[in-house]
């Protein structure tokens, strides 16, 4: 390496010699590395190729989610201005305002942000896994199975019908068993995305019939609460409901990173990925486990909220113009979608407090029509 080149290399960041067709930031930073048994500072030990558009989109989406969250915290029977809400969150304002914001409204809004992000990530993982924009956990039968699990608890196990945790556990078990069943039925020398979708749709259809039958057998009151759960709702959520979700969400950060690092390689086909040093079946199994876990947490906490997982990755991809779906942008988009949907569900229809799932299904339905029309036009 010649001297001037060395000098140029020493700068922390510079432009790439390659035209990637999009603005990039190349970061080359010194870092610690093990040299001859001891830790020393090495130049260029940390290096990144950062997509500027992607970073900006994620930043804007996070800001939008934050703004929507503050708006939702301020809306209700008692309207609070933006400043008061922010003060209350940081321990200011009157005690009354703090109670309203932090105890009554915050659990719901925090859940909307976190569950939206989890659903967005889960959708991105499943769409990458199936290499299909329709390959979301709702389509491959997970939500229907979770609903079956919840219905069994709500309707068949008397005495615990309205409590929160048994229903959540029922949904968790139902969803995971369904995912396992779909995986096993679709397995043939590894799992291919398209088979996963087809088998998922079939299992979904069967379980829908079971769900309808269960509801028809129930008495009116139980059927009503089952239907509300089945739509997916954030109504009446307390911190006690949000805590387990937050803990699991934090625990899942590392597995999600593990998957996100390998996902772009797997997007290029199994053989290419294997040739580049990815252990394909192991990675795919990890993706399924992570994707199912994230959906499972979300569904257990709030019921099957449809279409966020389906729509968020594709909408995010259209904004970032990334190659394939990306996890970070999908998470941010999922959070925005769910907070906004929840705001609409609560306040857009007067005093009718709808389950948020009804709103996401409506928005998602429009999105699906648009997606199919776009795909049809492209072919």
């Amino acid at each position: 390496m010649s001297v001037p080149e060395k000098r140029r290399d020493a700068t922390a960041s510079r432009r790439s010699r390659i035209d990637f067709g999009r603005p990039l930031l190349i970061l080359r930073l010194p870092g610690l590395a093990r040299r001859e048994g001891s830790l020393t500072v090495v130049r260029g030990a940390v290096s990144m190729r950062i997509d500027i558009r992607g970073v900006l989109v994620v930043a804007v989406l996070i800001a939008a989610a934050f703004a929507a969250a503050v708006a939702e915290l301020g809306t209700g029977e008692l309207h609070l201005p933006f400043g008061t809400v922010v003060q209350a969150v940081f321990g200011g304002a009157t005690e009354f305002d703090r109670t309203i914001v932090n105890q009554w409204r915050a659990p719901r809004v925090v859940l909307a942000v976190v569950l939206g992000a989890l659903l967005g990530i889960s959708g991105a993982i499943f769409q990458s896994l199936t290499r299909n924009p329709l390959g979301s956990p709702d389509i491959i039968g997970f939500n229907t199975g979770a609903y079956t699990g919840a219905l069994v608890v709500l309707l068949l196990l008397d005495g615990m019908s309205t409590s929160y945790y048994p229903t959540a556990v029922g949904a968790l078990v139902g969803g995971i068993l369904t995912a396992l069943l779909v995986y096993l039925l679709a397995f043939k020398r590894g799992v291919q995305g398209f088979r996963l979708i087809i088998v998922g749709i079939a299992i979904s259809a069967v379980l829908s019939a079971v769900n309808t039958w269960l509801i028809l057998k129930a008495d009116l009151q139980e059927a009503m609460s089952a239907a509300v759960w089945g739509a997916g709702t954030l109504n009446n959520k307390e911190w006690a409901h949000a805590q387990p979700v937050l803990i699991v969400a934090v625990v899942m950060v590392i597995p999600v990173f593990w998957v996100a690092y390998r996902m772009p390689m797997l997007d290029m086909g199994d053989d290419s990925a294997a040739a580049l040093g990815i252990r394909v079946e192991r990675t795919r199994l990890a993706m399924i486990v992570v994707g199912v876990s994230l959906t499972a947490i979300a569904t257990a906490a709030a019921g099957p909220i449809s279409f966020v997982a389906l729509a968020a990755p594709q909408l995010a991809k259209r904004l970032t113009r990334s190659a394939g779906v990306t996890i970070t942008a999908s998470a941010a988009m999922g959070a925005v979608l769910l907070v906004v949907s929840d705001w609409i569900a609560q306040f857009a229809f007067g005093d009718k407090n709808l389950p948020v799932g009804v709103v996401t299904v409506s928005i998602g339905g429009l999105y699906l029509v648009w997606l199919l029309a776009m795909e049809a036009r492209r072919q």
Binding site: R22, L27, G44, S47, A275, S322, A323
Partner: protein, 297 residues
């Protein structure tokens, strides 16, 4: 397409050959070998007890009729398919015993079915070939950048770097995949039917490129090809397969004969010298009686 644009073109030529010649296999060195492997899918066995050495620093081409097991062999050699018995050795050690990324720094593969992710641009795709050299915190070093620049130059896709892969022609796309393989900077490169679906000009282009890569940098190349005349023109070493077995192997000018082609493909033919290169050229015999009469006039 020329290699003159590539900086890596002329370095390492002699020394790499010398380095690899010390491998010490009988009859020339071979870093990549299959020992008595049985390969197939589920219960269907394609090849039983196959043993083969891939000669270092040469351009090897595997030929044979459809379903003779040539792609299966290539998949086994590139550890995409693990043999039910026997083993594939890389530098004398079972290939399955290496960490996956370490193999990917030594041995690259251009598979038959690659998927360009929706909306990916050329440079991004080529850069993904650097994955085996990268770590979580070291994702884009100066070496990565140089490798990608050189790979795109060598395959003539530098001008396309900002384009969407979806918008390219089949020939351009295949060159982009070749560039990704080059960016991986492996000493062994395996190519599974790289010329399929390309028109004739692109086929020749790609084979010239492979031949240059082999000659200028001493890389070991193995390709599965359908076109016999292409195979015989560009290969240093031919492996001819039929029904899962190796029927003949060696330098094309030494092993190719009308009998060999008839035995492998069941094709009656004449072999003449290629007027351009002097390599064997297969001329299938006319089967219609009137065609033969037409020549005699």
């Amino acid at each position: 397409m020329t290699m003159n644009t590539s900086k890596s073109g002329n370095d390492g030529n002699g020394e790499m050959n010398e380095a690899t010649m010390t491998g010490g296999a009988p009859g020339g060195s071979a870093r990549l070998r299959a020992r008595n492997i049985t390969i197939g899918y589920d219960t269907r066995i394609i090849s039983d007890g196959l043993t083969v050495d891939i000669p270092d620093g040469k351009f090897t081409v595997i030929v044979g009729p459809n379903a003779c097991g040539k792609s299966t062999l290539l998949r086994a050699l590139s550890r995409l398919l693990s043999p039910s018995s026997g083993e594939v050795l890389l530098d004398g050690k079972a290939i399955a015993s290496y960490p996956a990324k370490q193999v990917a720094r030594t041995l690259g593969l251009l598979p038959q079915s690659s998927i360009a992710p929706d909306g990916i641009r050329v440079a991004d795709l080529v850069a993904r070939g650097r994955f085996p050299h990268q770590k979580l915190i070291r994702q884009w070093t100066a070496e990565d950048e140089t490798a990608v620049v050189e790979a795109m130059a060598a395959t003539g896709v530098s001008e396309l770097s900002a384009r969407l892969v979806d918008e390219l022609s089949g020939g351009q796309r295949q060159r982009v995949w070749m560039a990704m393989l080059l960016a991986q900077q492996t000493e062994l490169m395996l190519l599974d039917e790289p010329t399929t679906y390309l028109d004739i000009a692109y086929q020749v282009d790609l084979l010239e490129l492979c031949s240059e890569l082999n000659r200028n940098s001493g890389r070991t190349l193995v390709a599965v090809l359908h076109d016999l005349n292409h195979a015989f023109r560009y290969a240093d070493h031919i492996i001819a397969m039929r029904s899962g077995n190796i029927v003949a192997q060696g330098n094309p000018s030494e092993i190719v004969s009308a009998e060999m082609v008839r035995e492998v493909f069941g094709l009656p033919c004449r072999i003449i010298d290629d007027p351009e290169t002097g390599t064997p050229l297969v001329i299938p015999l006319a089967r219609r009686a009137d065609a033969a009469r037409f020549i005699s006039h």
